[in-house]
């Protein structure tokens, strides 16, 4: 408690000097909007610069990569009727990048397809446009991602930031809050995947951030609608579903009429889903066809080298060989649910804003580590709540970002994105350690074991990069280094998951202590 008090007094000291000679006084003295616009312009500039670099599958026929997948979906959606989008047919060959995201992604592709058609009709012509990569069409595609970021992710972050700071409401921390925007907007993994590799994660993540902001400002119905939209953009958003569910349930249970409250939220969710799925509601077959496209269980329990439990332990236990897919499905379901449970129970028992954010982090980490068919790109989902919590636990976010980046390193090398990868790594490190004149330098009483562990991890971090770039793997184990990176990252993520779960539970004790103290006073 004393420590906290001491921190507060130094903050008051900061406030007195704020604006005059603080390093970032010039940035924050005009208030919220100029600060946000400055940082977001910088974030956009970084995104625009990253988009100059190659994307996944650039100039590599016959399958290309995610860029071609997105372009192909635009081609399909603007040339076919909505009910044919998910059905294999003469005009829609599902084996060539068939649509396997929920309908909102399809609608987004439709809108972007119209945009492309307006300026470059050839780039979305049926069949003839496969592998279409001209200077102009590439640019148009890149600009659709940039504009999605501006229209969805940035406003959502702005709302979240306003709501979150209102909740904290302490003066003299303008510099910290400005830093928080930078951390939210300049998330290197997200920038690399969206603007380098080429995807539209900013939309589903933006919708999720919007939902979080709505939850924090007690607008639960809006939160339900936004989160349902996020789910309908990428099914991966389900990583956050247990946290939303448990937090909202916990909140409803504390109100006068729990059943009524829950059914209201349920109706909003069902209503949103019904609107999004409208074209497929005419028959159950159509619905099941779309659903079967969304759950590609035939692809196996993990893909490539992803730093999760199944892939890491497959070095010892050959899961894919020993068990059948249905069994594996059951295993992963049990593991995921059981690891989510602690944080869910915590939120149902004592829902709190901070606890909710930790719940999001814990649930998404559990899903990343234990669920079925995880991509290395899925690390973006745990990273999002970590970035929302950056002000609360900066080192957690830093740790997760750097290891998240490392886990994507082989992918980045395949995509020829090493230069932006290295640069964004450095840029993130610099932004994280922005010079602030803080009197209370973070003195963490760390044990020797902790220091040794950190030093060891950092050495491994650089060592693995170096080894992967300079050495050739032995013939017998061509993917040796990928496996090493994956196992190392898995241990880091698993440790982090334990740490964040513990933190979520100690959080409530801390809060309870605070409340008791208040009552005593």
């Amino acid at each position: 408690m004393e420590k906290k008090k001491a921190k507060k007094t130094t903050h008051v000291g900061d406030a007195a000097r704020d604006g005059a000679d603080a390093p970032w006084g010039w940035l924050t003295h005009r208030g919220v909007v100029p600060t946000f616009s400055f940082v977001s312009l910088f974030g956009l500039l970084v995104r625009a610069a990253v988009s100059l670099h190659p994307y996944s599958g650039a100039g590599t026929p016959p399958k290309y990569g995610d860029f071609e997948a997105q372009r192909h979906w635009m081609e399909i959606t603007i040339n076919l009727w909505a009910r044919d989008w998910y059905v294999n047919g003469t005009l829609n060959d599902l084996s060539y990048w068939g649509l396997d995201y929920p309908p909102l992604t399809a609608y987004q592709s439709y809108v972007h397809g119209l945009f492309l058609k307006l300026f470059d009709p050839d780039s979305v012509a049926l069949f003839s446009s496969r592998g279409y990569e001209t200077y102009f069409s590439k640019l148009l595609m890149r600009w659709t991602v940039l504009s999605s970021d501006v229209m969805v992710f940035f406003p959502a972050v702005f709302c979240f930031w306003i709501v979150y700071n209102r909740g904290r409401s302490r003066g003299g921390e303008r510099c910290d809050t400005a830093w928080h925007i930078a951390m939210l907007l300049i998330n290197p993994c997200l920038i690399l995947i969206d603007h380098g590799h080429f995807q539209y994660n900013c939309i589903s993540l933006g919708l999720t951030v919007g939902a979080v902001a709505a939850v924090l400002s007690q607008k639960d119905l809006i939160a339900c609608a936004l989160f349902s939209l996020a789910l309908n953009h990428k099914q991966m958003s389900a990583y956050f579903a247990p946290a939303f569910f448990s937090h909202l349930l916990g909140k409803c249970l504390r109100r006068k009429n729990p059943f009524f409250e829950v059914s209201r939220l349920g109706l909003v969710v069902i209503g949103t889903f019904a609107v999004v799925w409208w074209p497929y509601l005419y028959s159950s077959d159509a619905l099941l066809q779309v659903l079967s496209r969304l759950a590609p269980f035939e692809r196996g329990i993990y893909e490539d080298y992803v730093a999760n439990f199944w892939c890491a332990t497959s070095v010892l236990i050959k899961w894919k060989r020993l068990f059948l897919t249905p069994e594996l499905k059951l295993f992963s379901l049990i593991m995921t649910v059981s690891t989510c449970l602690p944080s869910m129970i915590h939120q149902i028992a004592s829902p709190s804003s901070q606890g909710f954010l930790y719940g999001l982090l814990n649930c998404s980490l559990s899903f990343y580590l234990f669920s079925f068919q995880v991509h290395e790109k899925s690390i973006l989902l745990p990273l999002l709540p970590a970035s929302l919590l950056a002000l609360d636990d900066p080192s957690l976010y830093k740790w997760l970002t750097h290891y998240g980046l490392l886990s994507m390193f082989p992918l980045m090398r395949r995509d020829r994105l090493l230069l932006p990868y290295t640069t964004l790594n450095a840029l993130y490190f610099l932004l994280h350690h922005v010079p602030r004149d803080r009197r209370d330098s973070e003195v963490t009483s760390s044990s020797a074991a902790y220091t040794i562990l950190t030093a060891f991890s950092v050495c491994c971090y650089f060592g693995l990069h170096l080894v992967y770039l300079t050495m050739h793997a032995p013939e017998k184990y061509p993917f040796l280094f990928e496996a090493l990176i994956m196992i190392f990252c898995f241990f880091q993520f698993a440790l982090l998951a334990i740490y964040t779960n513990k933190k979520q539970w100690t959080l409530s004790k801390h809060l309870m202590l605070l409340n008791k103290e208040k009552k005593l006073i």
Partner: protein
């Protein structure tokens, strides 16, 4: 307030590191032919003996910078050979564009910028923290430098670093070092010679402040140093008897009054006036012959491009630049104060830009960057700088004509605007109240009063309505050029958008020149 410590160097290092990250990200962006020009110079200096540097014609991009720059390229070429031998191959390297050469050349520009950073550090090490930080933001994050050096490709950051270093020595009263650095700069890029009269008058007068003996000693030391520097640069070529050839290469007067894209200077008005007059006179029945060559075509030969107005020769422009400089020279002669050196030098480059022969739009860097040092001194200066840097950055937009870089240049300019607005208002709104009686702010209000009447009341940094209208006009010009012109007129009159940018920006730069002239004349009189 005056005793506050300077901003810590760790902060400067942080800014430099972040800026470097951004520059690294810009590596794959569009490169102009200057990239191949510099690559060719690497090969030229590496594979040919010194006697053939200024005579070789393997590529159309002959060496047209002074010898120090050639030596600089020679130095780089050893590193280049270690990276990829094809880069320095005179024939096989022509139009070489592999990843290795792009990476190598881009990184040399980024590394050469360290000269600029050292100069900025030296200039701000005794500054108030807020002013120091603002200067960093204006110079290190200058959108113009990023556009010209790190996208378009040139080594201006390095050269301007030498200029700023020279200014930094001058402003400390160390005239010998300042003069020598300027001489070195001239041997790197002769286009900087426009400020030579100012340097000459200033240094000459500085030498004769005290006793005659001391002054004569200083003068002779300066003379010997400068002659040594020039001898080091041109000596080898004099030895080979090539001086005439070197000078012919360095001053290609055959290139005409204006560049293909007209730099926004005085001659734009002259050309437009000529066109209007010839049109009107023809309507009135006079027999006006159309000029054989046109300005929009690019290369201009010997015949007069003007229909009505008299032909302009290099000598005319030379005299006009000297005339424009004369008030400043008189001031420098009367009272050579070190604190005004930056202002005078920037003014000299502005005059050169406005009235010079065959001026490139990139030359606006030569005065915008030094003016950043004076911008933090008073409110009026800040307002002027806000205006000038936006106009001159916008005038560089046609350099990056490809669609890919469009978001980048727009974002750079917007970011710069927001940063300047926030920085200047933090600097002046905070201090305006504290030192309402200080002479500095009074002077600022005086010089800014005409532009906006509402300034005097607030006292802080506000943007007057004339500035707002002018800046809004930039938006309209850009909208017309980018969207409406291709949409309405199609491919007809393709030169009109560029011409509009030139003319519109020329007004802004003309205004800036008048403002600078006025502030110099009024200063301490």
């Amino acid at each position: 307030m005056t005793n506050t410590p300077p901003p810590p160097i760790s902060e400067l290092r942080w800014h430099v590191a972040v800026a470097t990250c951004l520059k690294l990200l810009l590596i794959p962006s569009y490169r102009s032919t200057d990239f191949e020009v510099h690559r060719h110079w690497l090969a030229l200096t590496h594979s040919l003996p010194l006697s053939r540097w200024y005579t070789d014609e393997t590529s159309p991009w002959t060496l047209d910078y002074p010898p120090f720059f050639a030596f600089f390229e020679l130095l780089l070429s050893y590193a280049a050979r270690a990276v990829d031998p094809v880069i320095v191959h005179l024939h096989r390297g022509l139009n070489y564009r592999s990843d290795s050469v792009v990476l190598f050349q881009r990184i040399t520009v980024i590394a050469a910028d360290s000269c600029l950073f050292y100069a900025v550090y030296r200039l701000t090490r005794k500054c108030e923290p807020r002013k120091g930080r603002l200067i960093w933001a204006l110079v290190i994050w200058s959108p113009m430098l990023l556009i010209v050096d790190h996208v378009h490709f040139q080594y201006n950051g390095f050269l301007l670093g030498i200029l700023l270093l020279s200014i930094s020595y001058l402003s400390e009263g160390k005239d010998l070092a300042g003069g020598c650095l300027f001489a070195i700069l001239l041997c790197f890029k002769h286009l900087f010679a426009v400020a030579a009269p100012v340097y000459f008058v200033y240094l000459l007068r500085r030498c004769f402040r005290g006793t005659f003996a001391r002054g004569f000693g200083l003068l002779s030391a300066l003379g010997v140093a400068v002659i040594t520097i020039f001898a080091a640069a041109y000596g080898p070529f004099i030895y080979h008897g090539q001086m005439q050839q070197v000078i012919r290469r360095m001053f290609p007067f055959g290139r005409g009054l204006c560049h293909a894209y007209w730099a926004p200077n005085f001659w734009v008005f002259y050309i437009v006036m000529d066109k209007v007059l010839s049109f009107v006179l023809r309507r009135l029945g006079f027999d006006i012959q159309m000029p054989a060559v046109s300005f929009t075509g690019g290369l201009v030969g010997n015949s007069s491009p003007f229909a009505v107005l008299p032909q302009i020769t290099p000598l005319t422009t030379f005299i006009m630049v000297l005339l424009a400089l004369s008030p400043c020279l008189i001031k420098a002669w009367r009272n050579p104060q070190p604190k005004n050196a930056a202002r005078w030098i920037a003014y000299a480059y502005t005059s050169g830009f406005l009235f010079g022969w065959h001026v490139h739009e990139k030359a606006s860097l030569h005065f915008v960057i030094p003016l950043a040092l004076t911008a933090v001194q008073s409110l009026g200066d800040a307002k002027h700088y806000f205006w000038l840097s936006i106009v001159s950055c916008y005038s560089l937009f046609p350099l990056l004509y490809e669609a890919q870089e469009y978001p980048i240049k727009v974002l750079l300019l917007l970011l710069h605007c927001v940063a300047m607005f926030l920085g200047f208002s933090a600097l002046f709104n905070g201090s305006a109240r504290a030192k309402a009686t200080a002479p500095e702010s009074r002077k600022g209000d005086q010089s800014g009063e005409k532009r906006s009447s509402s300034l005097a009341k607030g006292g802080g940094f506000t943007i007057g309505w004339i500035t707002r209208c002018y800046l809004f006009g930039i938006l309209l010009v850009e909208l017309w050029g980018q969207f409406l012109h291709p949409y309405i007129l199609g491919n007809k009159l393709p030169f009109v958008p560029l011409m509009m940018i030139s003319v519109y920006c020329a007004f802004g730069i003309m205004y800036s020149w008048i403002w600078q002239l006025r502030s110099i004349v009024r200063c301490s009189s």
